[in-house]
Point group: D3
Chain length 166, copies 6
């Protein structure tokens, strides 16, 4: 049984992430979507919300698990007895940072392999950062994120709007 | 059981290829090293020699199989009932050609996934073409190719030398 | 009135080319699809066939013209009294060769501007070379080229097959 | 009549920007230099100053207009009834971010086209950020920015100096 | 006598830096390791510590000097009557920023040349930033930095730990 | 005394090459312009002509020497007791092939260092191949190559023309 970890911030989960996770389930027996506790950055969605979103989107997929981690990724992967780290490669600009990280991870955990997968080409230009930016400027994100993310983004906007007027 | 195909010309097999094959055996149940019958290019090693070399190097690895294919890669992968194509990414210059090919292959065979793996960093500058060029100019290739490839390269040189003097 | 030249080999015309030409007609008053007479390479389609294909595909578009040129592109553009060269940028690997060529063209014809346009993302992995390769190996090219190109590719294959058996 | 929007921060306008604007006037009937109201970053020049600088540099060019926008770029372009977004591509590092943004803009506003233009090669290494950094360290920026920008940079330095001693 | 300047933040010195400095001493009569006083970023190591570390590592190398500079690099290089700036190129992602900076420096100081050198391939994935990140998460950095850096990193951690419990 | 080798085909010498050679003479005591005997490609200029051109252009530069080599570059560099290989980096597309070659050369000759230098930005788009292509199509190459190269290109064209009519 091959167990894969797909790490990231998922703030929020995009259709590009969903595509990689689904593709990963065809190759590995189980995929753990491992959400990084990043203490430095101020996330838009809380860790709890991000866990709920992934759980909701993959509620029909028994071989997708959601988890949270902090510290070194290779320590987490080792602890979970996983075999492989899965990363999506959308574009060349991802490539070198991903390569550098993968080589460092190989040094820190030589038995753990990193594999890179490609999302469908219609998702190559989607990133969580761009989704948040477009949404905050009033742009349409339908089709770029799961329905639950679109709905939660609107909730946040509403609350923020209410906060502003109160 | 997950079956992977690692396609290429392998003219000759390098230590970079060997590294990717070994890494692949940790992730998949079986790796088929699929040597492309490329009718256009004049190879240095015959198909028979290339098959023998891979067989020799992996004679202790029951989950590495050698095979030969022509035609479309996705047709071969489908025929073999394999799940995934494995490709090594040494450097950025590989990246776009590999991406373009992988997207085309996904279109031609939507159920087949391509995963990219990194060889160890000491092999990033090795390619079959460079090996042949360096060897033909009298350079040392020990450590860059398996011992059997080094020995066969020397045999070829000797024969060629004899042909020249006769 | 702004006149644009879209130069290339178009051997054969792909849906990526068609997309760029259509986008160009929204920006410029007229687009000349200028097919390069490349004496060195052996094309699959004759110049006459390539002209017919472009003409057929754009028969309803009065502001798309087909022409043939040899010699320096900037001399042709000057002769045609055009203002701008249009080039499609599919991917980063196109980028530098295109840039180098555009800077040389600017030196040779300082009044002529080059603009780069992006095809729709589903065409980023299509090139004439790849189309020919996939087709020759028996792969499906429907959706990647105009219908007339698919039909003409099949005619060529049939003739070649007949030639082989005769 | 074709109307183009050239968006950016222009903090400050460089000779690279000036070059792209001039080239754009040869291709389109009018260029709107659209300065982004970026509430997050602390600009060196106020929006008012940036508008004055562009207006001064192009005071003899009736087909160059200066404007200010916030919100989504495609909403602004639609409101202005423009046809095309012009972007300068100085170098490969610009390429992917620009591509990603252009694909997102195409999704948000399918009728709006993005075209990329090259500045003259002597401007490829100029960016507003680098100009500010070099000037703040006492370096010479003559020839890299319009005269009015150089003069305003000196005014700012003087004021800051006075503030420091008072 | 040819004098070279190797500028950087060196926060901290890595084995990749050490490799470039040693290679530089084979090409130039003297290498000045010039540590940039970067007032904006909060460094992990004080300037004094960074100077001590370089001095300790190269205490047996009479042709390596450590110095500190602020302001424009070319002004510093001119003041030191040096001939050349040495920069390490680890990867393509370094390339364009380095090129842009080198072209700007050539404009600011036309007599000063920049040369690029490659570290050994095992150091291509090391950066000061990544070292700090891995160490702070509890990862092993032995072999990636000189022994004195590893030891000082541990001292810092200890102090921070004590501060936390006190 | 530091001796540098600048290897290449120089078919023909361009102003980009001249620029790198001149810059190299400021850094090293002597530069050997080492012309590769490439038996496979059909050069435009004979080896004798290429040697004469470099000699003519640098006749006033006592620290520029012209030489011819075949076989492995590192063997030649060792035989000449040189310390360093100089390579020009015009653009990113050069970068990876150059890097790969430099790493292989370092393996084959660990004591020989490769340094990369940048030509002036007006030469970034010049290559010997592009010069030959532009000239053969009737384009102006003045300012891109030394005067002697322009004159010899015209001689070749004249002879070819005469051959055609006879």
């Amino acid at each position: 049984m091959k167990l894969a970890v797909y790490p990231g911030s998922f703030d929020p989960l995009t259709n590009g992430h969903v595509d990689i996770i689904e593709r990963g389930t065809h190759l590995f027996d189980k995929i753990i979507v491992a959400i990084l506790v990043n203490v430095e950055k101020a996330p838009l969605f809380t860790m709890q919300e991000r866990v709920e979103i992934v759980r909701e989107v993959f509620k029909e997929s028994p071989n997708v698990e959601v988890d949270v981690f902090d510290g070194l990724l290779v320590d987490y992967v080792t602890r979970r007895k996983a075999d492989v780290i899965v990363r999506g490669l959308r574009a060349l600009s991802d490539f070198e940072a991903e390569f550098q990280m993968a080589l460092m991870n190989r040094r820190l955990g030589p038995k753990i392999e990193t594999v890179f997968m490609m999302p469908a080409e219609q998702y190559t230009y989607i990133s969580s950062r761009l989704i948040k930016e477009v949404f905050s400027l009033g742009g349409q994100v339908r089709g770029l994120v799961p329905a639950i993310v679109e709905s939660r983004l609107k909730d946040k906007q509403l609350k923020k709007g209410n906060a502003n007027v109160s």
